[in-house]
Symmetry: C2
Subunit: 109 residues, 2 copies
């Protein structure tokens, strides 16, 4: 199966505490048995909610400049930044640049 990312519907993230964040589910379960590939877009000034959960994130930054809060540490991210957020760790992504911040975020299915 091959699709173009621009063909995939982009939906507003409705979670409380999210601002100007959209999500595309690129590879879902089914068909994928083990993990799910999503792409997020955060507009300038936007952010994901500060939260934690019992599964990990694996993130690859595609575009833009952002800040990640990972536990108590802040990191700046840019295209090519790879982020591993372990299960149960409090985290947040924020766009601190002037263009959309776009990243892949893969989670267990």
């Amino acid at each position: 199966m091959v699709i173009d990312v621009d063909e995939v519907r982009e939906e507003e993230v409705q979670m409380e505490g999210a601002k100007d964040v959209t999500i595309q589910i690129l590879i879902n379960r089914p068909p994928a048995p083990t993990f799910v590939m999503r792409r997020f877009r955060i507009k300038p000034g936007g952010y994901t909610p500060l939260h934690a959960h019992d599964y990990e994130h694996e993130v690859y930054t595609l575009q833009g400049i952002g800040e990640v809060l990972d536990g108590e540490l802040h990191y700046t991210i840019k295209p090519g930044s790879v982020i591993y957020v372990p299960p149960h760790k409090v985290h947040l992504f924020r766009n601190i640049g002037e263009e959309d911040l776009i990243f892949l975020c893969i989670i267990p299915a």
Copy 2:
């Protein structure tokens, strides 16, 4: 954990039938419990071996123009192409462009 992709060692893929392919392991197990993020680079004219295995691939194309053989179907891929290769399906990636073909490929840990 945040790293830059350019900090990660790039190694030649030694599998028989591979030509001009390198791999970077971006997020490995451990620490990741469920799936592993790798980045591949195929030079112009290069390809991965035609093969199949009992686990799936989830692929996101970052740069270049390539061809995927997925079972008996051929697809052209470009930046933003998303590929799901199910378990046991014969597949091959080939660079048919003039710059390096670079893609993420995530597999179960």
